[in-house]
Amino acid sequence: MSLTVPLPTEVEEAPSGATVTASETVGVRRGGWFTKIVIIAVVVLWLIPTLGVVITSFRPETLADTTGWWTALAHPFRTSEWTIENYRLALDTGGFENAFLNSLAVAVPSTVMPITIAAFAAYAFSWMEFRGRYVLFVLVVGLLVVPLQMALIPILRLYTGGASIGGVQIFPDLDLTGTLPAVWLAHTAFGLPLAVYLLRNYIGSLPSSIIESAKIDGADHFTIFWRLVVPLSVPALAAFAIFQFLWVWNDFLVAYVFLGGTRDTRVLTIALAGLAGSRGQNWHLLTAAAFITMLLPLLVFFSLQRYFVRGLTAGAVKG
């Protein structure tokens, strides 16, 4: 099925006749010096706090507590300045591998489930006509504001005992508490509003001409969705996947309430949270812990970068 579509013309044309010096054009366009300087400046500013943590995580406890981390930069080659003890202690935390696997077992399904459900809903909100689409959509977006702490107790009650009105069981007693599906469902629910919001925005801004011509060619909604919209929405799907994975991976509260904090079920964030001691004596261990937990999400981010590709729409238009 080939789609021939004229270039979208809704965007304003730039005012013509503006005079521009050659050096200005070169400097800003295509990564010239101005661009580079601004980017480096912002990156450095953003990195400074993180640098403090990373450096501290490699310093022995006494030094970390008594001298500023910048002093380590003055003597970078003195071996007494550095240690991997913090990492050793963090990794030595009882059941680290177990907690890591648990985190993975929680995060992966909790990321892909909302995407699937939200993609369909987002498509419907974007390209299907039905009564109440504005109201329902805005309701979904409005649910973003619900603080998750307020939802914990009601959901916990549902999981533990089911719900009934006047003796009629409307939500079965599944005794889900402490099981993985409990957390998946909770995370899916908490992630749906943002997923629907982001995906609808992206899917809705696809050129309508593409959708229209597909309809003219006789494709039904399911086909349009599956064969056209989803491949084109890959950047948005990837973006949301990153956020959801990140949020679930670093989450403490939902995992604790619905899965528990015992040795066999706890996730990585819970296992490492105890490192500092409730009176904060071992705060330096948290620096190592923070770095460790950060690695996987960053890896995910990096690997999904290739989906943020320029000109996805333009390419598909001609195919």
Partner: protein, 385 residues
């Protein structure tokens, strides 16, 4: 799956032909069968899920197998569900099916949201009219408290500051950074990853990070390991208890959230910027437009819907901020309270369910203007489309 272009029309009933009219009786039968199909489908799904559920909830099951199963069911299963429901809808008469189909697509999301979010919202609203253990009704007492208590009023003032500054800064910086990074020949992925890094640090990590910036120790209690005080000492000045300086400490905390959230804005806006067709931008440049003009007249209008989305999300997030404020010092003593922090304080720490719920309700109401704005933007965009 081959694209089947004759699909949309209902399959012909056995023994009859598609004639000009349809009898109401047959319509009723098809709709009845559709409903039955839904029920049967639901039951079968339930049984399969229950078995899989039992396996997955067993703590001793092999975790990787559980993940695989969850993926199969979660993605494959859900996808199959949609596909099956779509097929069922196809059985209906044409005009009915097109009216029903959108609800089938939106349905699962709505059901999950209804159970997990809407039900707690209703629960909270009811609680807000009750007393501190959620038993007797006290009318509007809790709301009176919300709007008269000095700490609550401070929290409202502070929250306003948060919801203005955080989106403003995070979105502007994110947009500019995304635009500039898009033009880099190399290093774009790294630059973006470094701005994104703060989002990857768990909240606990972020707290430690910023304690190492704002930390203070008075004379004699150890040396100052916080960056700002390190700078002050280096300049020969006395260290300062940054987080206790009222009211500037609010700004210091806001900086933390901006630091974290800009990555989000940047990633989303970057995806949007990348879908602006190259040809338009090149055409404008050939016409002699300066980069600033391209930015103002092409980039921004093209990604405006995304800017609305990101800004909305930032505003709502800023309304809900709690951890940052709670962990960096004592909110009440330092007067850095915000609405969500007050809600947690009252609901969980002072054990007053009624007041906590009332504060949550105020939060729900506060999001309404944002939603209204979204509806307006939504309609405008659709009008252009």
């Amino acid at each position: 799956m081959a694209i089947d272009t004759e699909e949309p029309t209902a399959p012909p009933e056995p023994g009859t032909e598609e004639s000009a009219g349809r009898s109401p009786a047959r319509d009723a039968v098809t709709i009845g069968l559709f409903a039955l199909g839904l029920v049967v489908g639901a039951v079968i799904t339930w049984v399969v899920l229950a078995q899989a559920l039992d396996y997955m909830r067993d703590r001793d099951s092999n975790r990787l197998l559980v993940i695989g199963l969850a993926l199969a069911l979660g993605v494959g299963g859900i996808f199959f569900l949609f596909w099956a429901m779509d097929r069922l809808v196809n059985m209906l008469p044409r005009d009915v099916s097109e009216r029903v189909r959108p609800y089938v697509y939106v349905g699962p999301a709505l059901v999950i949201l209804a159970v997990f979010l809407i039900y707690p919202v209703i629960n909270t609203i009811i609680l807000s009219f009750k007393d501190n253990i959620g038993q007797d009704f006290v009318g509007l007492d809790n709301f009176k408290f919300v709007f008269t208590d000095p700490s609550m009023l401070r929290s409202i003032r502070n929250t306003l500051l948060w919801i203005v500054l955080v989106p403003l800064c995070a979105v502007s910086i994110g947009l500019i950074f995304a635009t500039l990074a898009d033009r880099l020949r190399r290093g774009e992925a790294i630059a973006k990853s470094l701005i994104f890094l703060p989002m990857a640090i768990s909240f606990v990590g972020a707290a430690v990070t910023w304690r190492l910036v704002y930390g203070f120790r008075p004379e004699g209690f150890g040396s100052n390991v916080g960056l700002l005080n390190g700078i002050k000492l280096g300049l020969g000045q006395d260290p300062v208890a940054w987080l206790t300086i009222r009211p500037w400490n609010n700004l210091l905390l806001i900086v933390i959230m901006i630091w974290i959230q800009t990555g989000f804005a940047m990633v989303v806006l970057s995806a949007a910027i990348k879908s602006i067709p190259d040809e338009i931008v090149e055409a404008a440049r050939i016409d002699g437009a300066s980069e600033l003009q391209v930015f103002r007249h092409i980039t921004v209008p093209s990604v405006l819907p995304t800017i609305v989305v990101v800004t909305t999300y930032m505003v709502i997030n800023a309304m809900k901020v709690f951890d940052i404020v709670y962990v960096m010092g004592s909110p009440e003593a330092n007067q850095t309270e915000v609405i969500a922090e007050r809600m947690i304080q009252w609901f969980f720490l002072s054990n007053n369910d009624g007041r906590g719920a009332a504060i949550a309700v105020v939060l729900f109401l506060a999001v309404i203007p944002v939603m209204v704005w979204n509806v307006r933007q939504f309609r405008q965009q659709e009008a252009i489309r």
